[in-house]
Amino acid sequence: MASAYNPIYTDVPEKDVFALHFLQTLSNLRTQNSFSSPDNKTSDRVKKIKKAAYVSMARAAGGTNRLWSRSLLHQAAKRNNKNVRFLRRKRRVTWLMRRRSNRGDPIEDVAAERLRNLVPGGGGMETSKLMEETAHYIKCLSMQVKVMQCLVDGLSPK
């Protein structure tokens, strides 16, 4: 039985969706008292902004519809010790999937391992799913970078 060819969806939303989410997250940050107090170290501020960037990107890109965004939001919520409830999806056994995907080229698998470490949530995926998630992740990341660049350009003094 030939396996059906599933077209791979890697459409990402428009730039303003990302911009809107990022600005909303930033404004939430600014209204927190801890953010604008003078004894807050710059490195903490940078970390908060960076985290805001990733979280808003995950939300803009589809929230819990994508594996990488789910994993990102989950990690972020864990660090905040927030009690977030996620729908339990049926997850396949990881070692079984590793065995399946390990039957390819060993060179390819080393690179796939590195990719798994870079893409959030990549540890539990098959190689084909990993590629799909990677493509979407890269598109969203580059969109987020564009948004941040525009913001920085708009804010820096002429």
């Binding site: 039985m1 030939a2 396996s3 060819y5 599933n6 077209p7 791979i8 890697t10 600005l23 909303q24 930033l26 404004s27 600014r30 604008s36 710059t42 501020r45 940078v46 902004i49 960076k50 960037a53 990733y54 396949r92 056994v93 079984l96 065995r99 399946r100 080229d105 060179i107 390819e108 080393v110 690179a111 796939a112 590195r114 990719l115 870079l118 893409v119 098959e126 190689t127 084909s128 590629m131 799909e132 990677t134 493509a135 992740y137 890269i138 598109k139 990341l141 580059s142 987020q144 970078v145 941040m148 660049q149 913001l151 920085v152 708009g154 804010l155 820096s156 003094p157």
Partner: protein, 92 residues
């Protein structure tokens, strides 16, 4: 779960050639550098994966740099400057 073990040698979840070609094409469009140099159809999957890893690392570094600049810019904005007005109009 036992039926999954018996399906290991079947072709069901294996990535098909069409999918590989499609994915590599998509990744090539996204990645800025590679693609034009190769004439053969046989793409080096490991090369594509490697370029992807490098690209993701670059993007993460960009996010770090931009976050730093944003942090500096946001804290140095005083209340009456035009930048503050811009921020306020964007955030409303």
């Amino acid at each position: 779960m036992s039926n999954r073990r018996s399906r290991q040698s079947s072709s069901a979840p294996r990535i098909s050639d069409d999918q590989i070609i499609d994915l590599v094409t998509k990744l090539r469009q996204i990645l800025p550098e590679i693609g034009q140099r190769r004439r053969s159809d046989k793409v080096s999957a490991s090369k594509v994966l490697q370029e992807t890893c490098n690209y993701i690392r670059n993007l993460n570094r960009e996010v770090d740099n931009l976050s730093e600049r944003l942090a500096q810019l946001l804290e140095s904005v005083d209340e009456d400057s035009p930048q503050a007005a811009v921020i306020r109009s964007l955030l409303m």
